[in-house]
Symmetry: C2
């Protein structure tokens, strides 16, 4: 008996999951994330609407699924990649490296991340990945600012990295100044 086995995904479910992800990726690339409705994704994938929502929950969930791989790459690099992003460097250096790397990731998929964060209120804080970034930043902040209340401070700092906000900042000042501002804030 395989007690902990999470019961394999049914064949039709797997097939449809792939069809949906492929269709969504294609439509988003061709028309832009905001201009594609969930109806359109379902139609393009050749599945019913119920199927789409059942599997991905909402539009944010679909975006998260599409970002999954890229997100994992960054998480891997932080956990076990080379310093200064990975372990081994001083906290301040790692924090600066994280900000740069996160901004690379974010600016590479701005529309998608934005949808994942804003599709429903509070969506950002419910995503599993957010907790990862938050933990990482809190630990580093404890290193760069000994004695500070790192957990809420990490939240406040990550606010500056919200897609909604970075979109506005980059539009107004360009990437270089936006990056510098976040780094300045992070390093005190």
């Amino acid at each position: 008996m395989l007690l902990d086995e999470p019961r394999r995904e049914r064949a039709d479910a797997a097939r449809n999951r792939l069809k949906v992800l492929a269709a969504a990726a294609r439509l988003f690339r061709e028309k832009g994330v905001d201009a594609v409705s969930m109806d359109a994704v379902a139609a393009e994938a050749g599945v019913g609407k119920g199927t789409l929502f059942r599997r991905f929950g909402d539009k944010a969930g679909l975006a998260v699924a599409l970002l999954d791989e890229r997100e994992r790459e960054l998480q891997e690099a932080i956990l076990s990649g080379p310093a200064p992003l990975g372990p081994g460097a001083q906290a301040a250096e790692r924090l600066a490296a994280f900000v740069e790397a996160y901004l690379d990731y974010l600016l590479g998929h701005l529309d998608l991340v934005r949808m994942s964060e804003t599709a429903s209120p509070g969506a950002r804080y419910r995503i599993g990945a957010y907790r990862f970034w938050h933990r990482h930043v809190a630990i580093l902040l404890a290193g760069t600012r000994p004695g500070c209340d790192a957990d809420p401070l990490a939240h406040a700092l990550l606010a500056a990295l919200a897609a909604e906000h970075v979109t506005a900042m980059v539009a107004e000042y360009g990437e270089a100044r936006a990056r510098r501002a976040v780094r300045t804030l992070a390093l005190g």
Copy 2:
């Protein structure tokens, strides 16, 4: 000829504006901001939907209109009230005072501000008030951190004061720690 006169508001328009604001205030108070639809506001006010949207643009616009007075009070206090919120104190003190005062305002009307900022994407940065807070913070930052690139830095700092974000931070850590985190970030 009164060239610059902005042509007085028509009597029926004024009457309806007041009816809508009163109805919205009542419904929001009774049922909570999120649970009230624009249809319900229109019905309660006894006006058509078209009238509601024509005048306030969207849900965010309605929220802004309701917040208008409180917002003005804070702006007045900053421009000409007593120090340290008003002029006369050192930049660092004024910045701390601004953070506290803004959080007072925000926490007093969290749902409404949140709606004004999140009803449509990018709404926050289109509100006139945002430009005011941004200018104020940028000027103070130039005082506390000579030589910094104050404009984007002010944006990054204000990100931590976004309603969406403060809601999450207060829920998780409570007001006191949330306040302290923002103040820490602001004062470097």
